[in-house]
Symmetry: C2
Subunit: 216 residues, 2 copies
C-alpha cells in the first residue's frame, strides 16, 4: 500500500508518517519509483504501535524508540522488556534523593515490597516512584501509611499474573510488541475504570446529580 493508504487506515497524517520514517521509527518501504514506496502490514502494525504508545500511553518519542528497539531485539529477555516499560513511563523522574525525608520513605517502600515477597531490581524506577507518591501524600496530610497500599499491591499482583498468563508458559515466541503495549495501555484502562468506579460510588454516597457534575 502507499503512504496515503497507511494514513487513511490509521488516521495518522502523512507528514507525521514521513517524520517517523525520517526518524527511523518506521522502517523504509520498498521503493516502487521516484519518491514512491510500498508499505505492508508490518508498517501498519508498527504505526499503530507507535500511536498507541504516544497518544494513549503519552510516552515521549525517545522512550518509544527505546521500546521499539528492545521489542525487535530477541536478546532482550522478557523480564527486561517489562523493566524497560517501567523506565519509559517516567523518563524525567524527579530525583527522589534530593527530597527531604525521602530516604526513610524509600526504606519503607523497600521493606513493604520485600514483605510482599517481590524482588524487583533495587534500581527499578517504580521503587522511587512509589516512595515519591507516599511521601507526597503524607506531606499533604493524607492518612495513608504503607499499609494503605496493601490492597493496591494485591490488585497489582493479581493483574500482573493475569497478563503473564497470556504469554506462552516458557515465554518462547511471545508477542513482544503486545507485552509492551499491554504494559503501557492497561495502566490507562485501570485508571479509567478506577475513575468510573469513583464517580459512581461518590455519587451513591454523596448524592450529587449528574447536572451537578456537568455544571461544575
Amino acid at each position: 500500500m502507499r503512504i496515503s493508504d497507511l494514513s487513511r487506515q490509521t488516521g495518522v497524517p502523512i507528514a507525521t508518517i514521513k517524520f517517523y520514517l525520517r526518524e527511523r521509527l518506521l522502517p523504509p518501504g520498498t521503493p516502487t519509483g521516484r519518491n514512491q514506496a510500498a508499505y505492508g502490514e508490518a508498517h501498519l502494525r508498527r504505526l499503530r504501535l507507535i500511536r498507541a504508545l504516544t497518544n494513549i500511553g503519552q510516552l515521549e518519542l525517545t522512550s518509544v524508540r527505546e521500546l521499539l528497539t528492545a521489542i525487535e531485539n530477541d536478546k532482550v529477555p522478557l523480564p527486561a522488556l517489562y523493566a524497560l516499560v517501567d523506565r519509559a513511563l517516567f523518563p524525567q523522574e524527579p530525583a527522589l534523593h534530593s527530597v527531604e525525608g525521602a530516604k526513610q520513605v524509600r526504606a519503607d517502600v523497600d521493606r513493604f515490597v520485600k514483605e510482599l515477597g517481590w524482588s524487583p531490581d533495587m534500581d527499578a524506577p517504580s521503587r522511587d516512584r512509589l516512595a515519591l507518591v507516599v511521601l507526597t501524600l503524607q506531606r499533604l496530610g493524607c492518612e495513608c501509611g504503607m499499609e494503605y497500599f496493601l490492597p493496591y499491591a494485591e490488585a497489582a499482583e493479581k493483574l500482573a499474573v493475569q497478563d503473564l498468563d497470556l504469554l506462552p508458559a516458557d515465554g518462547v515466541g511471545a508477542d513482544r510488541a503486545a507485552v509492551v503495549v499491554r504494559g503501557v495501555l492497561l495502566d490507562v484502562a485501570l485508571s479509567a475504570l478506577r475513575r468510573m468506579a469513583q464517580e459512581h460510588h461518590a455519587t451513591l454516597r454523596f448524592g450529587a446529580t449528574k447536572a451537578d457534575v456537568r455544571h461544575a
Copy 2:
C-alpha cells in the same frame, strides 16, 4: 516565611514560584515591604499540591488551575470533583468517534459498565478512554475482550471504595485537596506496583537475571 523559604522547603526554584504567583496558581503573600511579601503554611501546602499534580501526576497547568478552582469552590460537590479529575487526566483526548470501529467498542464498554452496576455519566471521558484502549489492543492482536477487564474493574471498585472510606460519611468537611491529589497520585502508585509485580513475576517465570535487565 519569605519566597526563598518556600523554595528551600519544597525544592521549587524561586523563578517557578514567581511564575505560579503571576499566573495566580498561588495566591499573593502579605506585603511586608517594597518587593517583599510573607507567605504562610497555606502557600506551602498549595505549592506542594501544584508540584504533586504537575511533577508526579504529569498534569498540564490548565488542568491544575481548573482543579485548584474546584477544590476551593465548595459548591462543586464531591462527585463532580472526581469527574473533574477524570477530565484533567487526558485533556487532549484523541477523539474516539473519528476512529473506525469505535462505535461498536464504545457500546461494548457501556454494556460492560452497566453490567458492573456502575452509572458514571455517559459523558465521562473514562468511557471513551477505556474504549480506545480496548480497540487499540484488539487492533494490535492482543486477545483481550471485555471479559479480560473484569478483574481490572473489580480491583478498581475495591480501591475506589477504600479511598472514599477515608472521607467523612456525609462528605461534609472532606479535605477536597486530598480527594484530588489521591485521585491523581494513586494511579501512579498503582502503576508502580503493577510494574514491580510484573518484573518480579516475569523473572520468576522466565528466569532472566538482574544482569540481563541492566545490560538490556
